[in-house]
């Protein structure tokens, strides 16, 4: 069920577009040679997916640290649920909320009335980035929380008993031991971002688009399935290369990967 469609997409990518859209069997590399016309989509994805992942990580780590190590037991469960709940609600409505907030009548109008100028926020890379962080933050917090929670707290006590200042304890003990969670979180967010469609469609307004938007356009609007398949194959290849490289790089400093359960 999962492998067969990928094979079909691979076969389709060598075909041609039928006169009324759809697909006609053929063997040609034209679709792959045309990939250059969609370069902007690949460029946006390859820039904003890593930047978005990094932004998620930077915001998520302190929160996960707070939840796992600082928060009292009474509140911990509730606070954790509060992080996960948005993840399970409609990403469509949550992105829409940002259209509302970043649109002309929202934040820019507020800033204007405060005399801080009237910047255009919606339909910019910034808006897409905000949407990404908003959408994927829970997915990043959770694996980091799991790895910090499992961490043996006695190690932290030992470190401070032995006269290590808090900052060095964090750098030498906490951070290395939570790397598995960081690696898992980054991986999950990055993979999902590579295929993102909704957030750029809603907050990028046709100006900031991802490969996902090109795919929707090719499959549903211009119905050029052969070229669409070629774009999909290229995306899967790019994902394979980056993810493999990433795993190679992280295996050195992250022992095992944490299992993620989101409920």
């Amino acid at each position: 069920m999962l492998v067969l469609p990928l094979v079909v997409v691979f076969v389709f990518s060598f075909g041609e577009r039928g006169p009324a859209g759809g697909y006609v069997p053929a063997f040609t590399f034209d679709n792959f040679l045309n990939l250059g016309t969609r370069w902007a989509a690949f460029k946006n994805t390859l820039v904003l997916a890593p930047v978005g992942t990094l932004a998620c990580l930077l915001i998520a780590y302190p929160l996960a640290y707070f939840l796992a190590i600082r928060a009292g037991d009474r509140w911990k469960t509730l606070l954790l649920i509060l992080v996960i709940v948005p993840f399970w609600t409609s990403i469509l409505i949550r992105s829409y909320a940002w259209i509302f907030l970043l649109g002309g009548q929202g934040l820019p109008a507020l800033l204007d009335s405060l005399g801080l100028g009237n910047p255009r926020l919606i339909n910019t890379p910034f808006a897409v980035l905000v949407g990404i962080v908003y959408g994927y933050l829970p997915l990043m917090v959770f694996p980091i929380y799991v790895s910090l929670e499992r961490l043996d707290k006695r190690l932290l006590e030992a470190s401070s008993d032995l006269g290590c200042p808090p900052a060095r304890t964090f750098l030498n003990v906490t951070l290395p031991l939570s790397m598995a969670g960081v690696a898992t979180g980054c991986m999950l967010v990055f993979i999902l971002l590579m295929g993102e469609f909704l957030i750029p469609a809603m907050l990028g307004g046709g100006k900031v688009f991802f490969v996902g938007n090109a795919l929707v356009d090719l499959f549903l609007q211009s119905r050029n399935w052969a070229f669409g398949s070629a774009v999909a194959v290229a995306l899967v290849l790019v994902m394979l290369v980056t993810v493999t490289a990433y795993m190679r790089a992280t295996r050195r400093w992250a022992g095992g990967r944490d299992d993620v359960s989101l409920m």
């Binding site: 707070f66 399970w88 295929g195």
Partner: protein
């Protein structure tokens, strides 16, 4: 540290809160809150496109969640007896199904279904007893339910299996030793124990289907689910009516999620 956490929670919840707040706005403009009113809810619920899309979403979510729960539970129970390398392969596939971007699933399902329909429709037409009256298979309710059911099944399997893993196995042995038939043991011992997992799985599967936009976008054919309706109306411009619909969608998923959490947690404590 506390202040930081508070800021992140505000970041997570303020946008949702603002949508909910402005859905009660009396004014027409999204920018200024001019008083409390339920008029946008009235407008939304009086719009035949909205009610129809809402109905489609409910039917698809209910049927696909039911199928996913039945087959997912059976699969989770069957996976118990699968061991070794095959088990590892199954586990990996289930996680892949949950983690693959929705767009890949959408495209793959679209292509797979259309290809199968292209094969089946001529055959069906040739075999049908009445000429030119053969049913045409096309995208619609069937494909929506199938696609949602298939992928939420993976969710159900994961949740029910966690439940089975936490179950006291000696009870099953005791039941068998006391002469219960395997079916009797299943009905009276296994099922009551894993039931919270099954119920939570159903609720999550329902939420998944009800909220899903991207898979539905590809396989819905001429049908319109509520998320598809919302997406296309946002493209036409932001109206207070969308705030009302959005708040309702959020409320439905929040209620289901909280129920699922309560079911799982109350039972864990008992």
């Amino acid at each position: 540290m506390r202040i930081y956490a508070l800021a992140v929670y505000l970041f997570l919840y303020i946008p949702i809160g603002i949508i909910a707040l402005f859905s009660f706005n009396a004014g027409k403009h999204a920018s200024q809150f001019t008083g409390f009113s339920l008029q946008w809810y009235g407008k939304a619920l009086g719009n035949p496109f909205v009610t129809e899309a809402f109905q489609t979403s409910l039917i698809v979510a209910a049927v696909s969640a039911l199928l996913a729960t039945v087959f997912g539970t059976m699969a989770a129970l069957a996976l118990q007896s699968v061991k070794g390398r095959l088990r590892v392969a199954f586990d990996a596939l289930i996680y892949v199904a949950v983690m693959v971007p929705g767009i890949v699933i959408g495209i793959a399902t679209l292509i797979a279904l259309v290809t199968v329909f292209d094969w089946l429709n001529p055959t069906l037409a040739a075999l049908w007893p009445v000429a030119d009256a053969a049913p045409q298979l096309s995208l619609g309710y069937g494909s929506l339910i199938a696609a949602h059911g298939l992928f939420s099944m993976a969710l159900v399997i994961i949740i029910v299996r966690a439940r089975i893993a936490g179950m006291d196995r000696s009870l099953i042995e005791a039941s068998a030793d006391l002469g219960a038939t395997p079916w009797g043991t299943f009905r009276q011992v296994t099922l009551p124990q894993i039931f919270p997992g099954i119920l939570a799985g159903f609720l999550l599967a329902f939420t998944f289907s009800f909220d899903d936009f991207i898979i539905a976008f590809f396989v819905a054919g001429s049908q319109t689910t509520l998320p598809i309706y919302v997406f296309s109306s946002i493209r036409r411009g932001v109206t207070p009516e969308i705030n009302a619909i959005g708040s309702m969608v959020l409320a439905v998923s929040l209620i289901l999620l909280i129920t699922a959490q309560l079911v799982l947690r109350r039972d864990r404590k008992a």
